[in-house]
Amino acid sequence: MIESQKNQQSKPRDYGMFDAELSGAVLNLQLLRRLFKWLSPYKWQLLASGLLVLLTSFFAVMMEVVISRVLVDYVIIGETNSTMPDMRMIELTQWVEQVFDIPAIYSAGILFFVLMILFSITGHYHRLTLISAIVAGLRDLRQDLFSHMETRPSSFYDRVPIGRIMTRVTNDVEALYEMLRGMGSLVGEFVPFFVALTIMLSTSVELTLVLLFFVPIVGVATYFFRGATREIFRIVRNTVSELNQNLQENLSGMQVVQLSQREQKNLESYTKINKSNRRYEYKSINLSTVYGAFNDSLASIGLGIIIWYGGGQVVQEQMSLGGVILFTRFMNMLFTPVVMLGEQLNVLFRAMASGERIFQALDWDEQIHEPANPVELSGRLNGKVEFRHVNFGYNAETQILKDVSVTIEAGEKLAIVGPTGSGKSTMIRLLGRFYDFERGMIFLDDIDLNDLRSSDVRLRVGVVLQDFHIFSGTILENIVLGNPDIPRSRAIEAAKTVNADGFIQRLPNGYDTELVERGANLSQGQRQLLAFARVLAADPEILILDEATASIDTETEMLIQDGLHKLMQGRTSILIAHRLQTIQEADKVLVLHHGVVKEFGTHQQLIDQKGIYHTLHELQFQDVSLDEDGRAIAKQKATDDAS
């Protein structure tokens, strides 16, 4: 039990997998089978769709039979006793003639039109049932994928870029949509192919075989064409994305470009990509026009053969004239599916790679260990936090925290000071239960954190991160963050307390102002105040603040300091501080260096100690804002920085 909770993973995970571009150029049946798991709830729709496509194909073929065998042979030429198959359509026509007492030609017309209506109806419902099953199945798959990703732990997000996950949730699922739709229409083409083939074979085996000879020719042509264009298409896609990237970057950095007088040089590099794009576009056009025209011509040559060969057969009374016409009308049914198969192969291969990426993400089982029998927290915690001989590293090689012990009594405020890489952030991440660690290290009101559900811990430990993330939505929605337990009044109350109310009221719609593009319409300081309001509204017992390093204009800075001060009232607080004001707010200061507690005490005590803290204080005249490189301390101790 304890072994399994070790923070060091037994098998190191290969996060590089998420970066790998899978080739996926093979037909992976297992993958398709797995995909079917999401379609199986809709299997009745799929079944109905399958039945409907059979009916549709039957009607499509019968329409042609009516034209050639009934109209031409029976009605016009008046030949009824041919050995050629007519699928009893002639009988049906005769029956219609008798029932309605109409000439044969009207009867054939009615039959044709009724078949057409049936064809349209069954065809429509075939497509409808198919698409509804695909849409629903893939929607569920996407939802499961999102839920899965949403609950992966921080250690996962530390290593895998968000863009990679984005691709899976959006583009890769899209590729599956495309593939399933393509497969659906392939079925819609191949069923008539076989129905037509059966009738053709029973009409004239020789002529059918001659025509079938064309199928592999189309197939081979398609294969070579796809092979030749695949690489070209890939280059075209790459150049297009390079073009966009280049333009985007140039636009974002336009001021720098203009100030550096780089316009000409940038235009040249853009032109180069644009030209290479044009060159490959031309290449792909050359190939595809040859291929397209070749396929079209082949079909017409097939027609020529039918006329020539079939003509001879007619004369020898092997075939009826209607039989020949039937062949000419079935030509397309033979060629279209082969051409389409070629088109779908690329989609299929691309979808295979996408499917692989999706399932790889779904199989990623990394998660925070949750206790089997969690301790239920009742009522408010006192807020005592204890770190007891904490040793921790994100991987086996580097240890970040080394025997860190500190107790923060309920309601006490602790400032942690130290350069980046000293382990400050790690301490608060552990307390927020974002990573797995061994039992017996961190306690909340004397309860081992490993005995609590991670969600319980997070509801009671409020974290204000340096980078305040704004979700699109109103100010109010950003404060309550979708938590239905926070009423509007409490959110506004919280905003008032942390001095955010002032600027919010000045916004056009107050609390209902929509925030756009990651809060571009808010200043750094305003975002900080909003972050305070968000945490205060959630009302956690313990507050963790990772103070923003960027300097803000003095007036807003005062509002922030005041807001922070109110936020900390009655809460155990742990502050990763960069400003002297913040540090002086705290009851105790802990100086962390290379994961080791170097100094601990009140501001005054540490000043008197004349150690690291004292030096920091002396060095930084107005405010203690520690550099991310740990320069201040690196000067003191000429040791290598772990980061």
């Binding site: 044709f112 636009l251 720098v256 016409i325 991160l465 979708g482 959630a538 960027a550 009655g570 520690l626």
Partner: protein
């Protein structure tokens, strides 16, 4: 040329159909002949061997098609005629499609080049109006719409004009009465096609919109995953995602439904026309006024007539969308650069760095209040000047006047005694190095980023400037050092590292004037101190203008200007301003003693829960 080729291709296509129907007729005739049929067949077979020698007769065959007279030719000749027509069609169709699609690619190439050139000339007013996302949409979507119009639209247009033209003329030649009976179907189908294309365009746009909702929702959620998890809101977020996800699925289904309906209605309309051919045409055949081949030919022609009409709906949509896209592109192409480069060539080639501001005011286009109001200031060559003020007091606006990033009014800003508007724009921007507030790095190696204005610079110089910007140790820690890629595809630098990299980019130019817009905000005070000392040495004789919020930064400068609502309210050295006990002195107190003043009233605030 493409159009002509198309014309020819269409001709051969319909000829092929025509020959097919003649072939069918021929078979019918053969069928009615009974006794000598066998000998005739052997004739046909033997003639087929001489297919290659038939080339001469093909011409008369084709003329036969035109003159609507192919009787008297054997099956083999007709088959050969088909083959020749098909081959001719192959060549012409290929050429036509190719030239039309190449034209589309060529146009989009030109449009892209033009767009790139246009945006490079634009100033900040343009970018404030357009936004990067907006320009990107135009560059990607609108250009591809125009390309589609040229490649497929003109293709469709040709088919739409020629195919019905040929089909109708051939049909008229065969049976005018049957043709006239079919023609009324054309407008009906066109109206439906147009209606359906409109519906399809709406639903497709809806699908696109829902898809982009889905992407931005995912993007936003994943970027904020730590916040979501910190607040234990995963379940809530998953529920929220369901709505977006389901909305996309619904839109996708709706589009599929419309598409499917169209696929059902179109053939039904066509079948109604076909019904007319079967009954009316069938009766004609029975009456001996038409051949079986002609009946089948009419059915071919019907397809040929209706296919383009179906397309017409789509064509209208493409034209409409491309017209809008073109308008949007020309909004960029036609935008006049805000800053006019009109050098008088009477200005010195090398500037010294002395500025004179005379009642300089600036109002952003569209704004009511001026951001800068009557600023008068003299900056001597070699001086270091610092500017401080609240957010929105006009600091950045003022700095942008020096390099004419904003359109400075004539007669308000003088450099070395000449109006800045008289200098060549390029000279101003080369000789005045300006580091912007937003530390922007390109997705290129660090080396390229630092020596951005001149990629030929010696690597030692680049290291020197990195050193001056206190970035040497950071770069040395990267395995690839100066070759390290930054930006999206490379390493992510911290805010302070980015600022120092852009600072190095400014320093490397060793320009007569250096302008730093709040470039130390994320750099710690101690490193900043180090950089400022370095700057003092390097730029003792050169003009330096900087903006900062920190007194620790400001105090190093010869003079400090305090801006308040676009006006200079205080000016002087650090000591002078402290003695004056004004805004600056207040700021200094706030930054040094702010903490203790808050401490005082700590216990007066009520506890909120």
């Amino acid at each position: 040329m493409g159009f002509v080729a198309f014309f020819v291709a269409r001709f051969f296509e319909i000829s092929a159909f025509y020959l097919v129907s003649s072939g069918i007729d021929e078979i019918g005739e053969l069928l009615t002949r009974s006794a000598d049929a066998a000998s005739n067949v052997s004739d046909v077979v033997s003639q087929s061997h001489t297919l290659m020698t038939l080339a001469g007769r093909q011409i008369s065959l084709v003329t036969g098609v035109i003159l609507n007279d192919v009787s008297g030719y054997s099956l083999a000749e007709i088959t050969a005629g088909i083959v020749v027509c098909v081959l001719m069609r192959f060549v012409f169709v290929m050429y036509a499609r190719r030239s039309v699609r190449r034209a589309g690619i060529g146009v989009s190439f030109d449009l892209r080049q033009k767009l790139y050139r246009s945006v490079q000339k634009q100033g900040s007013g343009f970018f404030a109006r357009m936004g990067v996302g907006d320009i990107m949409t135009r560059a990607i979507q609108d250009i591809s719409l125009v390309q589609r119009l040229i490649a497929f639209g003109s293709f469709m247009f040709v088919i739409m004009v020629y195919a019905p033209l040929f089909a109708i003329s051939f049909m008229l030649a065969k049976s005018p009465s049957l043709t006239l009976l079919i023609l009324p179907f054309v407008p009906v189908i066109f109206i439906y096609a147009k209606h359906a294309a409109g519906q399809l365009a709406t639903t497709s746009k809806d699908v696109q919109d829902r898809l982009s909702d889905l992407s931005s929702h995912t993007q936003e959620n994943l970027s904020g995953i730590r916040t979501v998890q910190a607040q234990a809101q995963e379940a809530n977020e998953i529920k929220r995602f369901w709505k977006t996800n389901d909305a996309y699925a619904t839109a996708f289904y709706a589009q599929g439904r419309i598409n499917s309906l169209m696929m059902s209605w179109m053939p039904l309309f066509a079948a109604a026309a076909q019904l007319v051919i079967i009954i009316y045409g069938g009766n004609l055949v029975l009456a001996g006024e038409m051949s079986v081949g002609d009946l089948i030919f009419f059915m071919f022609c019907l397809t040929m007539l209706l296919q383009p009409i179906r397309m017409a709906g789509m064509f209208v949509t493409i034209v409409q969308r491309a017209a809008v896209a073109t308008d949007r592109l020309y909004e960029i192409y036609d935008a006049e650069p805000e800053i006019t480069d009109a050098p008088t060539h009477k200005t010195p080639r090398n500037i010294k760095g002395e500025f004179e501001l005379r009642d300089l005011s600036y109002t952003y286009p569209g704004a009511h209040e001026p951001v800068l109001k009557d600023i008068s200031l003299h900056i001597s060559a070699g001086e270091s000047l610092a500017i401080v003020g609240r957010v929105g007091s006009g600091k950045s606006t003022l700095l942008k006047q020096f390099t004419r990033m904003l359109d400075t009014h004539r007669g308000e800003l003088f450099l070395d005694g000449h109006d800045v508007c008289d200098y060549p724009l390029a000279q101003l921007r080369v000789q005045i190095a300006q580091v912007l507030q937003d530390p922007f790095l390109f997705g290129e190696p660090l080396k390229e980023n630092i020596s951005y204005d001149d990629s030929q610079r010696d690597i030692e110089l680049i290291w020197d400037s990195a050193d001056s910007a206190a970035l040497r140790e950071t770069i040395e820690a990267f395995p690839l050092q100066m070759e390290t890629m930054v930006g999206e595809r490379g390493v992510t630098l911290s805010g302070g590292q980015k600022q120092r990299a852009t600072l190095a980019r400014g320093l490397i130019r060793n320009a007569p004037v250096l302008i730093l817009d709040d470039c130390f905000s994320s750099v710690d005070t101690e490193t900043e101190e180090h950089i400022l000392n370095r700057l003092k040495q390097l730029r003792a004789e050169q003009t330096t203008i900087l903006v900062s919020h920190r007194v620790s930064t400001l105090r190093h400068s010869d003079r400090i200007v305090v801006l308040e609502e676009g006006r200079i309210v205080e000016i002087g050295s650090h000591e002078e301003l402290i003695r004056a006990d004004g805004l600056y002195a207040e700021l200094e107190r706030a930054q040094t003693q702010g903490a203790s003043s808050i401490k005082k009233d700590r216990d007066d605030t009520p506890v909120t829960t």
